[in-house]
Amino acid sequence: MIAEIGHYALTLAFFVALAQTAVPLYGAARRDRALMAFAGPAASAQFLLIAISFGALTHAYLTSDFSVANVAENSHSLKPLLYKISGVWGNHEGSMLFWVLILALFGFAVAAFGSQLPDSLKARVISIQGMIGLAFLAFILLTSNPFERLDPAPLDGRDLNPLLQDPGLAFHPPMLYVGYVGFSLAFSFAMAALIEGKVDPAWARWVRPWTLGAWTFLTAGITLGSWWAYYELGWGGWWFWDPVENASFMPWLAGTALLHSAIVVEKRDALKAWTILLAIVTFSLSLMGTFLVRSGILTSVHAFAVDPERGLFILGILIVAVGGSLTLFAVRAPALKASGLFAPVSREGGLVLNNLILSVATATVFIGTLYPLFLDAMTGDKVSVGAPFFNATFVPVMIPLLVLLALGPLLPWKRGNLRVAVEKLWVSALFTVVVAGGILVLSDEAPLAPVLGFGFAAWVAGGVVTELAERIRLFRIPVGESLRRLVKLPGAAYGMSLAHIGIAIFICGATGETNWTRELVVVAKPGDSMTLGQYELVLDDLSRIQGPNYYSDTATLSVTKNGEPFAVLDPERRLYPVQQMPTTEAAIRSGIAGDLYVAIGEGNAADGIIVRVWVKPLVPWIWAGAMIMVLGGLFSLSDRRLRVGAPKRSAKRPGGPAVAEGAD
């Protein structure tokens, strides 16, 4: 019964989306306030209905209602509670339902928090948001109904893929989805602005926090996915340039570019058409990612051809969305007049260059991900494009961006002097030379990659510190005064510094892991010992343990570092009997200097088991750097200048803005 309510609510949501699309759009064209005012309640109703539907599916999972086909295929009565919940979005149908839930949530957010938006803009944004919802609700209802019943119901379910039964992956999809579905709002704002024929700094002030929010979640989502791959897949890699990863990385790159170009629109009233185009491209890449992942085209072009229904449907949505938005752009963009003038050497100029490089980077990933599919479909030729290709192409593209990253923020708006800015970077240059020189002296073999990697990280970090020092006029005014300025810096300034320093930290981690990882693979029996670098590991014991829905072979290793007791590690090999699938659970001891990573393979006490040991220097810096970028996003979001509604609220309170800020 509850499943039927869910299905019914979803169908109803489709019709609400239909009205949400048509009525406000028509109302805005007619300047009819009553019709425009329909947008808000419609968006709220749509969110409510989809939330009911999602709640119904969650209920079916929690109660293990195996008469619902989706639950029977992806759950099991013995599965731990967390994975019963995460199982809701751990499959095709449920994840699409989750997709529209987030979409509707963003539409609802505009309705709820957009009271400061001009009526017509608000109506149009919500209408476009409804249009996207309409397409995906139709997709779910027609091709991917999560509420389909089974008769007779099976006694138990087929369980969730054990690889997905992991806390990291339970939260990875929601983060990722909030991220790339969040870009839908930038898209809706762009479409609405094109229809209105007007883009101004106020528009950018509304768009930027939403884009920033989406970007922050996407960054966190990608990081979580990478971390999961690192500890769960059991061979210590953290980024594979897999098409599925690229599908989320492309919107991230384009979204990063969008974030920067929106600043120029907001502060300088320039780059309008380009920013609109980026908003379209960013969300189109999100849609394309959904298509790539959901159509099955990645596993093989032929698998797609055999069962093309879902794939073609999303492809249709993609074509209509991209084609429609670009057509609208072509027609209306020439009408967008820019007012802000600037010289090539200026903050604006730097941000244009940032956008150029990020666009080329996006194109590199795009071509690398899609070209093999294209070639196969056109000629039947098969090529593989894997990590070695991307390392050879993507990394060089990003290097100029790192050089620019230190310089750009030091350039003033409108017109700058390159020499003055470069001279400010002397501390940064010195730091770079010291770090690169230090690496050169310390490393004994093939030092070029680490020298470059740490050198650029030092350059970026130095640039961030220099920019901050300039901002607070360090050593030019009394230090106390500088500190006072530091404390009073706006959230957005902290946000930028944190996000940029996060990149430097990330580069250190990536460089350290890639160049300095050491590995040991041995067959060991209980009592055997092995040595890698400063570590000595002794295999103490092998035992079989019974988990809630799996068996586990657990090895116990005691580790000493330079002869001192260091850790006891217990890597596992699990077998999930329902799916007849083994997984590895690596044992990792993390520290600021790096990880000691141990995983075991098949075997038994008598013949020995395969033990793999890695020492991975600086690995935690990869995720720390990314999380600092997320923190930067949050800081920037907390900047009250970004929240358009804030001045009005604070004006009503006595005591002025300072008090209101604390109370917010």
Binding site: K198, L341, V352, Y371, S384, F389, V521
Partner: protein
Amino acid sequence: MIRHSILGLVLICLTLPVLAVEPAEMLKDPALEARARELSKEVRCLVCQNQSIDDSNAGLAKDLRVLLRERLVAGDSDAEIKEFLVERYGDFVLLKPPVKASTYVLWYGPLAVGVLGAIGVAVFLLRRRGGKAEDVAPAPLSDEEQRRIAALLDEQDRKA
């Protein structure tokens, strides 16, 4: 159904990774073994999705690892081994495709985007600098905006 079996195949590749490069396969000569490892990172496990034979545990990946080491011991150069693999399995076996007519777009596409983009940016920046002031005057405010400004100013006056 087909989708399921392919997914199954992919998952087999993913889940037994610890078996990738077993101790028994490794060569005695550490320099040769290091070359083998580097080389295997560029060779695709043909039955897996986007995995090198260095990472994969699939039977075929193991066969390729052993084969690759046999060629190394026989004294082949890295290029010769790649050539040998491509002859048997096609370009598909290399994770970094060779540069040739059918992959020009792949290799030079990003470069073309970069060059075209750079030209576009250069033209844009130079025009921007030479633009006349009247071309870029801010759009006049609409009636509604005028009203809102008036309302905001009123509100401020009242507060003061």
